[in-house]
Amino acid sequence: MSEDIQTYSATAESGNVYERRSRWAKIKLAARKSPYTARFGITVILIYVLVALLAPLLAPYGEAQVFPAPYEPWSSTHFFGTDQIGRDIFSRMIYGARNTVGIAVATTLLSFLIGGSLGLAAAIDRRWIDQIFSRSVDVLMAIPSLIFALVLLSIFGSTVLNLIIIIAVLDATRVFRLTRSVAVNVVVMDYVEAAKLRGEGLGWVMRREILPNILPPLIAEFGLRFCFVFLTIAALSFLGVGIQPPTADWGSMVRENANLLQFAQYDLRAGLTPLLPAAAIALLTVAVNFVVDWFLHKTSGLRDEQ
């Protein structure tokens, strides 16, 4: 305590100390005041991340390891039984965290890279760059993205790389729109004009003046876009045109084991098996949505309360 006061009073460092402490304090305060839904969401997300990172250590069997008996019931050797060709469902669930979530994260990152940079460029140069990109995005968005993805996949084929690129490009249209509209509001601010008047280059204006101010809404949007991308990929895989076997993936696992559902009245656990990967998808999206909801609520200054 006494040390804190001493460093604080030293003129040269006081600022830094003050700054860092306040940021920490803010995070701690926010965490303490967070609603249960947000805490639940953060916990779930952390668990998924851990499972995805440690998948080979956690999974009892290999991702594509085939056992002689298909449709094995739940047991101590096969925690959730085996699937239609005898692969351990529990292990595939764990690897699925790595594959499904990993691909969705990569796709979302790519779509933000594309949409974000183009949106920023359009907001700054309101002449032809803006016109070209905005009009193309209008046209691209006139086709429902799942339908568009189906068309493109039928042409290019369903490889993981194609999947990532196609979904990322389609999703980038939405990121573009958001980035552009948020950035346009910042670009008209006097401090941006002041920087231009000073003679600052475009790079400085983008990096130092605009980017820090559009980050909060973009972070929230990242969560929402991730959910959307994640659900789209799951839907495509479920339809059989997304991630292809033998890669363990939750969407296709639902499809592969859907038949078990009709046995629910004889063995409830067998009936639940196809729902497990679906529930894994749902749980993560719920968690992310809860966190985003809280984040939006915080950054919007309780707009809803008005």
Partner: protein
Amino acid sequence: MSNKAQKGDVLLDIKSLEIEGFSDEKWHEIIKGVDLTLRRGEVMGLIGESGAGKSTLGLAAMGYTQPGCRITGGSINFDGVNLAQMSDEQMRGYWGNRMTYVAQSAAASFNPAHRLIEQTTSSTIRFGIKEKAEAHKDAHVLYAALNLPDPTNIGDRYPHQVSGGQLQRVMTAMAMSPRPDLIIFDEPTTALDVTTQVEVLSSMRAIVEEFNTAAIYITHDLAVVAQMADVIKVLRYGEEVEEAATRQMLKSPKQDYTKSLWSVRALQKEEHTATDSIMSLRGIDAAYGTAKVLFDVDIDVPKGSTVAVVGESGSGKSTTARVITGLLPQSAGSVVFDGDALPERLADRTKEQKRRIQMIYQMADTAMNPRQTVRDIIGRPLEFYLGVRGKANTERVIELLEMIELNADFLERLPAELSGGQKQRICIARALAANPEFIICDEVTSALDQIVQEGILKLLLRLQSELGLTYMFITHDISTVKAIADQVVVMNEGRVVEQGSKTEVFQPPHPAYTELLLSSVPEMDPDWLTNLNAARNR
């Protein structure tokens, strides 16, 4: 109107009212135990600076609290009933019937989907005060009394089809239509230009007098309220500072705080005699797209002096500044700075040319990047223009902070951690950091409270005499002009109407527009509006 009581009877009696508002996840006191007594036929002015709680108190007089606010104590007795203890349901019988409200932004407060006459008469008809036909006829009378053009037909228009000043008068007609006992005027003329404000004020005052209605008039402008009110109550931080009859308040305010409310008006800069021009605009024309906004503008700015450019919104005064800075290249004419013609486009100007001309904005809030600290904000021009880095940079920033009467404690603060006046000071320091010769001040004080304005103006004057700076001061406020200018340029509709030394411009005879502009600025005299109207009608 209910059983019409005698003029002078107590209509509204608020006792030790307390109101809290919810923000930053906490309840804060907004009104801290205020008493207020209003008699029938009396107009009370509620005056105070931003955050004084005057609007909250005005709405509370109707028993209304805004979402996120709550009444925590005290009573609001309106004609014998305590509104503080009534439900919304019960209060509805009073709202729009015995008490009505005139909002600051008429444009946003009218429903875009309905005709003006329907909105004017809706509560009158709802409460069965008048039949529809009769109410409409009465509305025409009110429109006429408020000097609206074409009173029988203007009501058939929609809100977006009439001007802001007219809309404000229609809203007054709407408030008057049910012949209420009490009208709350919430800053009704703040958003209007001075010449429009005078007309709206005159009509409002006339109609309130005619129907002998009690009113509460909320504003931050003492000169305006002096024309309207019989009694003035000064509020600060949710508490009463003092209350007195208007004439007495103006003549001998008891509290120092009240005096500070017109402190800017007391400032008078001694005129600096003109020398050589450092900046000359020659025959400037400019346009936004195809809309031409500046016509043949000539302005001379003598070195080391202050030129105030005065005009109402749309006069082209801010556009002139944009041309000088190179943000809007002129379509004709030249900008001559220190003997050389400046390139039209900002991009073609040299760093040195940019450095010598700096700009300070009206809204300090939006002029500073909210994510940068004071050190970054002031330090960047030092580094950018003068190559001052590291320790030397910090030292110079501290020096600049001391020049604007702040200190090194502010180095790491973010704009959000500064008060309004401090923010504007930081913006001044940022401009000074470039060692400029010419500074454009675009309405730099108009968003600030009076006492803060005074501080900023004094600071600018001091810096001018210490550093030999030249200012171009853009403003719509005549008292600010008197406080700071040596030379005055009057603009209207993109043209220079008059220009010369302050004494010349303020001395009659004036060109017609200057006359209109100068005479429309409310003065600290309760008879000002009466005399003005008498003079104008002559």
